[in-house]
Subunit: 370 residues, 3 copies
């Protein structure tokens, strides 16, 4: 029995088998809006300013008054639908750039410069809004559920033992391709030029109602350990069995977020990634990545600071390869008009069922304009 | 009662109220083709040459023979539909660049170099064509109506007491957004950086079958008078009430044209603008602006000539702000799939009814290819 | 009786008349896939490499192993539909760049690095593939017909008495516009700047089930003979009748290929062009040209070598004029939503019938995804 089938046996024992036939095309499943989603980095929104952002085709104006917390409005003036994010912040209100209509934190229209106060028109939609870990989150779904919906843990971003890289770009694909990409470590093959030849071993996983987990170890089969990796894991001088399969990588989709942790034995993780893929357009064929990549500081912390630019460049190269391939997957989907994925790795089929189950089927999505 | 409600009272007395609910989306109303529309500047078409232009998706070849007036043909050779405007002018005819088919002023095919004269195929459509005030006009509608349809007055372009700036660009919006933009002087708010803070006062208007008028005066509430404005109105040394509300601005939509005049008392206008927004594409979501901005020459005329470059730069900055905002209005319309305008200014609702009444509803428009 | 009607009489005697009304729009007729089509130049595909190409919207990976002939696969991995042409050639197989799935010459999946050999999934489609005359051909239709379908003769590319220029670009039009352009030599009018004024005389043609032929002679009516032409035909010192109509140009569409030969009397042709227009997108509104332009070497062969760059520049200028005009024809078709061609030259109507008869009507084309 080959190594690869052993790996399969591992996974089959821990995750349920794939039923024949999906009911819906996974790439048509909309993200579930009843979760907290980041829509901007804190540093993008200066005090006394407003910026425009998006969630699944909905334009959102984020406003940071000189005093008080950030708030989020529908980014269309009630008058002529032009973006409020082009307007001026004045006190705790934002004034549309065109005719000066003003909106407060509640979305109510509080002034039209040429109209009596008793005749003010309706205002605009608001979104529950929170700022944590350098990210601005909104709750795009039913506002009544915002308070009781758990806020994500954001990895190790608040732990001073870690240094965190904030990264992310827009990627022209459905968010599900991103989840599949990260969880299927057999795609290590694609990063061979960056990482050398690594053989992943699947160690098992978990299948829970809103969580799928996959655990892997790795053995270097040829090539040298790259700089970037040595920075994170410490140097392994050779590819001998002595070091192989020592570190365990745990990847989780805890809907709608994803995490990746690398740890040796019971030690705290050397790397802790929290990442989410936020749909941009109404069809959710583009997403914006918000990633928090936390690396455990070594004893001599300055080493990590000095090496940081190399680590940034290394992760950018990896991320570019991933972005290119998932965009090609989306392009093939567009051309074929549907999902022709022929998945053979059980944990990915488990993940696909999770994403389909937790998301919103196209036909049931009544929250968007038709 | 506040100032703004007083203004409203003024307008309510002069224009009729807005009925509940439109029957058609204003942005789907096509421009009425039974009017004279400019399609090019005279200087664009050299003698013995031909150029291509557009009206609402219809390609038009303008031809200026060495002798005789400009004429206008459908810009598609009857043979293979390539643009005649790429051809050669030969006498009073234009010859298609591909196989040399030739068409005269009447649109008739008068020569195919490799065919007997008795076998000549059908020709192409023509448009009534006139050249006035540095503009080339066509009559895109029923040619039988061309003669009896009044030709527009073109402001003060022919009056030697004025110097005229010809300007215009393509703007990616339905022409109705342009009419609304100019007539609602509350959008002065948007030009604050260029003009300083100005408070408009609505003085009343007119509501006639093919005309809507709005009159305003202004008071500077802060900031200095800009250069460009001083050139047109003469310098007002301070923002005191002494100068406030002295000049009257009269804006008219006289379908399908628009004018804006600024005058003090019974004196001739210091500024006289004639402007029209000519649909370019078949869906009329892009228009080309043709504007004639006439400024009354001061006693020492050379002052205006010297200041002209500054006036050009000033008006370009204003026009850019207007263009950006109306294109955002169109973009919002595209995204929402319809008009969500929530108008509170009665004269604009009056204008909207005029444009809807005088234009051609989408479903009745049988003149365009389906 | 004029010259042009004489020419018509000639053609009427040799080709059948145009029946009233086509059943289908020629620009909606798909190319018949049961022929050999080139999809790449040999020099584009290095040994041990793979490249991606297209036939009518079908992505094709061409693979050149270090040993053995080129083969052609569907350019989508069976797993996640990403291009195999981005993968690595390993022995006689190509390995997908993403997760390393490997495919052999037969299209069968022969390895998934993390799966047992007894569980390998289905592979991908293959195309019969041949390499001749510096071109890589595939047979996109029914593979059972590949062996018995005649392979094209490729003009004089293999004859050492000729020097051949390989040329071609993508052109944004249906292939039928290209056939019509080349066969209707009345379009000489368009190349007047490059060639001077030339009067074509139609000498007759042929109308066979899969072939249409047109023969022409030419007389220079004004202007000087251009360099490029003199290189091909030899210098004609004046435009006198002595040289007029001496050379005969024979243009054939022998479905789906086209040829153009110029010869004087019974001598071998001075120029022999073989050309084909391969549809790129699924709607066949873009084609890629593959042309083999063979010029007979003069007694002192080095003259042709020295003059070659001038000949290349001359033919590029001609080809650019042709490309621009056929793209305008396609643009007019797109705008009008159909073919409004009003053809008066009988041989072109004969050609149109041939292309319609040999191609595949849109509705019968069941081989493409809907």
């Amino acid at each position: 029995m080959s190594q690869s089938t052993l790996e399969e046996a591992d996974i089959v024992s821990s995750v349920s088998p794939e039923p024949q036939g999906h009911n819906a095309d996974l790439r048509r499943i909309r993200s579930n809006p009843d979760y907290w989603y980041p829509v901007a980095w804190s540093h993008e929104l200066k005090s006394g300013k407003t910026i425009g952002t998006r969630y699944a085709g909905q334009p959102i104006a984020l406003v940071r008054p000189l005093d008080g917390s950030v708030f989020a409005l529908e980014d269309r003036c009630a008058h002529r639908q032009v973006p409020l994010s082009l307007g001026r912040v004045s006190g705790e209100a934002v004034q549309c750039c065109y005719h000066g209509w003003a909106y407060g934190r509640s979305g109510r229209c509080i002034d039209v410069p040429y109209l009596g106060k008793n005749k003010l028109p309706n205002g605009v939609k608001t979104y529950p809004c929170r700022e944590e870990g350098g990210l601005i989150f909104i709750f795009p779904g039913d506002p009544a559920k915002a308070e009781t919906t758990p806020f994500p843990a954001l990895g190790s971003v608040r732990d001073p033992a870690y240094k965190t890289r904030r990264f992310g770009k827009k990627v022209a694909c459905h968010y599900s391709f991103m989840h599949e990409n990260l969880m299927d470590m057999n795609h290590q093959f694609m990063h061979m030029k960056q990482m050398g030849q690594m053989k992943p071993r699947f160690l098992g996983g978990k299948d829970e109602p809103t969580l799928v987990e996959a655990r892997y170890s790795f053995a270097r089969t040829s090539g040298k350990q790259p700089w970037g990796e040595a920075l994170i894991f410490g140097e392994r001088r050779d590819a001998s069995e002595r070091y192989a399969h020592r570190d365990v990588m745990t990847i989780r989709t805890e809907y709608p977020y994803q995490t990746l942790r690398i740890a040796t034995g019971d030690e705290p993780p050397v790397m802790d990634l929290w990442i989410v893929y936020v749909p941009q357009d109404a069809e959710e064929k583009t997403c914006r990545v918000f990633g928090l990549l936390s690396v455990r500081k070594p004893k001599v912390g300055v080493v990590l600071d000095m090496a940081w630019p190399f680590l940034v460049a290394f992760t950018e190269r990896i991320f570019k390869e991933d972005r290119d391939i998932v965009e090609l997957e989306q392009a093939a989907w567009n051309e074929l008009g549907g999902d022709h994925n022929q998945e053979v790795f059980p944990v990915i089929n488990t993940l696909r069922r999770l994403l389909a189950r937790c998301g919103v089927p196209e036909e049931q999505d009544t929250t968007r304009p038709t």
